[in-house]
């Protein structure tokens, strides 16, 4: 809310060329060197070094070998399945998560707190347990699976089953990302829209949705990232048929079991690159959205 234009320092003409990288202006608050040091050390140990080790491994195959692994038909199919279904699941979770977050923040009803706690369950449950539970229900002899089978729909052991599992694990990310922001949306802003003649529909789409869009996008990107890497809950329900219902993380495990470490690492690096690119796109969109109105 602070008028930032006032605080923007006056820059002499000579120094006006924007630099891409620069140290932040030293702050009065102490701890910058220590804070940065710990951040770099921690990120190196936990994220960068393991990923670097992963990235080095496939080169023993050489560039052409690496490329051959990645362009293998089975790998390509697994990639398409993993990333395609992850995006679809995250996209489905966007409206559904929004609806759930809306109900939980906007309405008071008996059992609201219990429902609220239920949302976190996919976070807390060991993924294998979730996978077995989902499989029990959606298998051809399970209650929902049998029902769907009557209509000729195969739920478990098909891409649909994988999709269900990915929706399941992604949901809390979307709900939890939106909830606090939705709570913060000013009642007065909505009332202003109403007095100006906006219908409920216009109020939701022109006023509330833009306000929570950055949070929604962040939730969707988290759900997507989680879905890409998901293994435990998917392997039980997927059926794991090569070329059909075999996800990329499973392919890595299979390669490891065949002592093809370099091949497994190559698939891993491929996933890493695609995920990284996707997250950059998500983040850029989010920054663009968030910058609007906050500049």
């Amino acid at each position: 809310m602070i008028d930032q234009a006032i605080f923007r320092p006056v820059v002499p003409a000579a120094a006006k060329r924007p630099r891409l990288w620069h140290w932040r202006e030293p702050s009065i608050l102490p701890g910058f060197p220590l804070g940065l040091g710990i951040t770099l050390l921690y990120l190196s140990l936990i994220v960068v070094i393991p990923l670097a080790a992963l990235a080095i491994r496939p080169w023993e195959l050489g560039l052409s070998g690496f490329w051959r692994v990645l362009t293998d038909e089975r790998v390509l199919r697994a990639f398409r399945l993993s990333f395609g279904l992850s995006i679809l699941a995250a996209l489905l979770n966007a409206p559904l998560g929004l609806l759930i977050a809306w109900s939980l923040t906007r309405y008071q009803f008996p059992g609201r707190r219990i429902l609220d706690a239920l949302v976190d369950l996919p976070f807390a449950l060991p993924t294998a347990v979730a996978g077995i539970a989902l499989t029990t229900i959606y298998a051809p002899n399970g209650p929902i699976g049998a029902l769907a089978a009557k209509f000729g729909i195969k739920t478990a052991y098909s891409p649909l089953g994988i999709f269900i599992a990915l929706v399941f694990i992604g949901l809390p990310f979307v709900v939890r990302a939106i909830q606090p922001v939705l709570q913060e949306v000013d009642r007065e802003v909505e009332e202003a829209a109403q007095t100006l003649g906006a219908s409920s529909f216009q109020k939701a789409f022109l006023v509330i949705l833009p306000a929570i869009a950055p949070a929604l996008l962040s939730g969707v990107s988290l759900a997507f990232a989680r879905a890409v890497g998901e293994y435990g809950s998917v392997v039980f329900i997927a059926g794991n048929m090569p070329f059909k219902t075999e996800i990329a993380p499973l392919l890595i495990v299979i390669k490891l079991e065949q002592y093809d470490y370099a091949g497994a690492a190559a698939v891993g690096v491929g996933m890493l690159l695609i995920s990284f690119a996707a997250l950059i796109v998500f983040n850029a969109a989010q920054i663009l959205l968030a910058r609007k109105g906050r500049a």
Binding site: D3, D186, Q194, T195, A295
Partner: protein
């Protein structure tokens, strides 16, 4: 002038807490009406009832002869301005102002160029001509509130409702905007209801002031009228600084401590509360008429002088305009203080 707004018998309670208790008042067409009261007096609730954001439990609101309560919010065509601006922060200033026009059904919506013209007119009306492309976050508080006002005016409202619009602004900006708002109202010619807890603002701005307390309308009248003739001790106290002393009225004579004077017209007989404004007093030598007082301290504040006096063992802070103060008033001096326009209320009323 014809009546445009008629509020009758409005009551509203939240659970067991009554926010509005049988409030009735009328406003003329194009009148500027201020709802004045301390927080919790129900003034904002009444405004929200007018806007349609709150449903009263009982009562009736007619506007231009039409039953207003049965009209849904979005069709009331009231321009509402909120204390914290309530701007759409993801929209530019121009988009904010245009909002009320762009959400209209296609058949009633002005064309794009008509909307742009209207926005430009409103921007210059609120003196923000070059700010159309900015976002609310890039504006100061006073500018934001002017955008909110332009946005409310864009729908050509039948009534303008302002809920403490200057409450979040600093004193300087407040005073500027106050004058400006009054001019704007006179030019736009819209019935305006303005909620405030600042008596100076209400008295300065409004055609008539409605003073509220505990969900009830206590007094309604022109600023001068209510200031000169407060209905009860609460209103007297609320409208300005007040000194109060116990007294007695007997046979048309008012006795306060050692001062006996003619009782004001219509004063009740018996024990009374005597009120006077600290700046409506005359000073006389110790052998003259008035309340016996001893000066404790004298402090000059610009053109005004604050004189701390002890009267009947109690400390009163009186005010005098420098040039009219008799020379020689200094700490330790005994003199007489004569309230020029004492107001008398029966002692049973507790404010």
């Amino acid at each position: 002038m014809d009546l445009s707004l008629e509020i009758s018998g409005i009551s509203k309670s939240y659970g067991r807490y009554p926010a509005l208790n049988n409030v009735s008042l009328q406003a003329h067409d194009k009148e500027f009406l201020a709802l004045l009261g301390p927080s919790g007096s129900g003034k904002t609730t009444l405004l929200r009832v007018l806007a349609g954001l709150e449903k009263p439990d009982a009562g009736e609101v007619r506007f231009g002869g039409e039953d207003f309560l049965s009209v849904p919010v979005r069709q009331r065509q009231v321009g509402m301005v909120f204390q914290h601006y309530a701007l759409f922060r993801h929209m530019t200033v121009a988009q904010n102002i245009a909002f009320g026009l762009t959400v209209r059904p296609r058949s009633e919506r002005p064309s794009k160029s008509e909307i742009a013209d209207r926005v430009a007119d409103l921007l210059s009306l609120v003196q923000l001509d070059d700010m159309g492309k900015r976002y609310p976050a890039q504006l100061s508080g006073g500018q934001r509130q002017r955008v909110a006002l332009a946005r409310a005016l864009a729908i050509e409202p039948k009534m303008l409702l302002l809920d403490e619009p200057f409450g979040a602004l600093d004193a300087q900006v407040r005073r500027e905007l106050r004058r400006w708002l009054r001019e704007l109202h006179d030019r736009a010619g819209v019935t305006t209801v303005f909620v405030t807890h600042d008596q100076e603002e209400a008295l300065d701005l409004a055609d008539r002031v409605a003073i509220m307390r505990d969900g009830q309308l206590i007094q309604l009248g022109a600023p001068n009228e209510v200031y000169e003739n407060p209905a009860d001790p609460f209103v007297y106290d609320f409208l300005g600084a007040a000194c109060r002393m116990p007294g007695k009225v007997e046979g048309g004579r008012l006795t306060v401590a050692d001062w006996v004077t003619k009782a004001p017209k219509g004063a009740p007989e018996g024990p009374v509360e005597v009120f006077f404004r600290p700046d409506e007093v005359a000073f006389a030598p110790a052998d003259g008429a008035g309340l016996g007082a001893e000066v404790k301290a004298v402090a000059q504040r610009g053109p005004d002088v604050r004189i701390e006096c002890v009267i009947e063992g109690e400390v009163f802070e009186l005010e005098a305009h420098g040039p009219t103060l008799p020379a020689g008033v200094a700490p330790g001096l005994s003199l007489r203080v004569k309230p020029m326009r004492p107001r008398v209320y029966p002692r049973t009323t507790v404010a």
